[in-house]
């Protein structure tokens, strides 16, 4: 040992040792050497018990949810059914087709019926004003159905006293005319009052002929007038 040579360490050796004594260096080294703690032997039993408990409660959850959902559905269906019955009874009492008054039809349908005025509203009309599409609330006239009979065949010739419409200008024989009587039928109604008035005069003088006479025309002319508010049905 005595004869062995001695070696000199590097000059920065002490500095390196001091550096390792530094708090942060020791901290990072000792973090990997922190003691490890073990839980008690009963820890797993407690976890297992808890898992079993959760398992049991977990089974009930879907059943509870399903039961509450089906209950809500039943209630909703019952409510809907009751409202349907109410609508049907109202419909029967008023004799009006209330299907058009339901919110579904109001949203989708092209026309909607004003229950109070009996007027059909066209809700699907739009107009472009200054490049902007605007909805126009148009009101259609409510036309009550007068006849529900099978549609009659249209006559080719319509004879008005004093003339034949097909062969215009050809006067009808006066002996033939005398045999016939004329009926005046006037149907009138109003938008505000839903009353329909029907006036019939049997054997009334021909208004067309009278008009022709007043104008001192040689040949009587047939004229059918359609009023702005009234429609005359010549069935």
């Amino acid at each position: 040992m005595k004869d062995l040579p001695e070696y000199e360490p590097r000059s920065n050796s002490w500095e390196k040792i001091i550096k390792r004594k530094d708090f942060d260096s020791q901290l990072s080294k000792n973090l990997n050497e922190l003691p490890i703690y073990s839980p008690s032997e009963l820890a797993w039993n407690r976890i297992e018990e808890e898992l079993e408990k959760k398992k049991q409660t977990f089974i009930w959850w879907p059943l509870l949810i399903a039961a509450s959902v089906s209950g809500l559905l039943f209630l909703a269906f019952y409510q809907y059914d009751q409202s349907e019955i109410q609508i049907q009874s109202l419909q029967q009492a008023d004799g009006i087709n209330i299907q058009n008054l339901t919110p579904e039809n109001n949203g989708k349908g092209e026309t909607e019926l004003d229950y109070l005025t009996g007027v059909k509203k066209d809700s699907s009309s739009y107009e472009v004003i200054d490049g902007e599409k605007r909805k126009i609330d148009r009101t259609k006239e409510f036309i009550p159905e007068i006849a529900v009979e099978k549609q009659q065949e249209l006559v080719n010739s319509f004879i008005v006293k004093g003339m034949d419409l097909e062969t215009r200008g050809k006067p009808i024989d006066s002996s033939e005319m005398q045999k016939k009587t004329f009926h005046t039928v006037a149907i009138s109604w109003d938008i505000r009052n839903t009353k329909v008035r029907l006036t019939t005069k049997i054997g009334a003088p021909d208004p067309l002929l009278l008009e022709a006479k007043n104008k001192e025309e040689i040949y009587p002319q047939g004229q059918i007038r359609l009023g702005q508010r009234n429609i005359i049905d010549f069935k």
Partner: protein
């Protein structure tokens, strides 16, 4: 702390709710989780509660884990969250004195892991939680702050405070 490598087959069995596999996973990881909880709370009973709650949640939610290889760190995060929840009312993040530490350059002692652990567990709860999350578990300040419900700057100042206290406590322990 050594990193735990878990077999992918074992993880699959745990996902399938196999009780034996669950027990095996518990045996492999219980020390890691318990040590984290115990060090954060410095209370055995509370640490056991956290351990139990952690494993129950792990076994229940393991199906939602997208990357099974991240299972150990996922478990640690769950345990840390549970421990924070338990000790939340103990946390006090008081304003730290920003004056320079007189012992900053005067630390002249050797210490080991045992001594460091003792000093950590004696830290105030708030500073201990930050030190555990950032220095021991390696969470970035942003994530630690998020877990603790504090700002990032508070997390940084609390870490600085914790280190300063550790130096003093280690030197005191060495004197004893």
């Amino acid at each position: 702390m050594t990193q735990i490598q878990l077999d992918s087959e074992l993880i699959e069995q745990v996902i399938a709710q196999d009780r034996k596999a669950q027990f095996q996973l518990f045996e492999l990881t219980k020390r890691m989780i318990y040590s984290l909880a115990y060090r954060m709370l410095n209370d055995e009973d509370l640490a056991h509660d956290v351990l139990q709650e952690t494993y129950v949640e792990v076994f229940q939610k393991i199906r939602s884990l997208k990357h099974p290889e991240a299972l150990p760190s996922w478990m640690k995060t769950i345990a840390a969250r549970k421990a924070i929840k338990v000790a939340k009312n103990q946390f006090e993040f008081e304003k730290i004195d920003q004056h320079p530490d007189p012992l900053e350059n005067q630390f002249d002692s050797w210490f080991d892991g045992e001594l460091l652990d003792q000093a950590i567990r004696e830290l105030p709860p708030g500073a201990r939680a930050v030190f555990m999350l950032v220095t021991v578990e390696g969470y970035p300040h942003s994530e630690a702050a998020n877990l603790l419900g504090i700002s990032e700057s508070t997390s940084k100042s609390q870490l600085h405070y914790a280190k300063r206290l550790l130096k003093t406590r280690i030197q005191n322990l060495l004197r004893v």
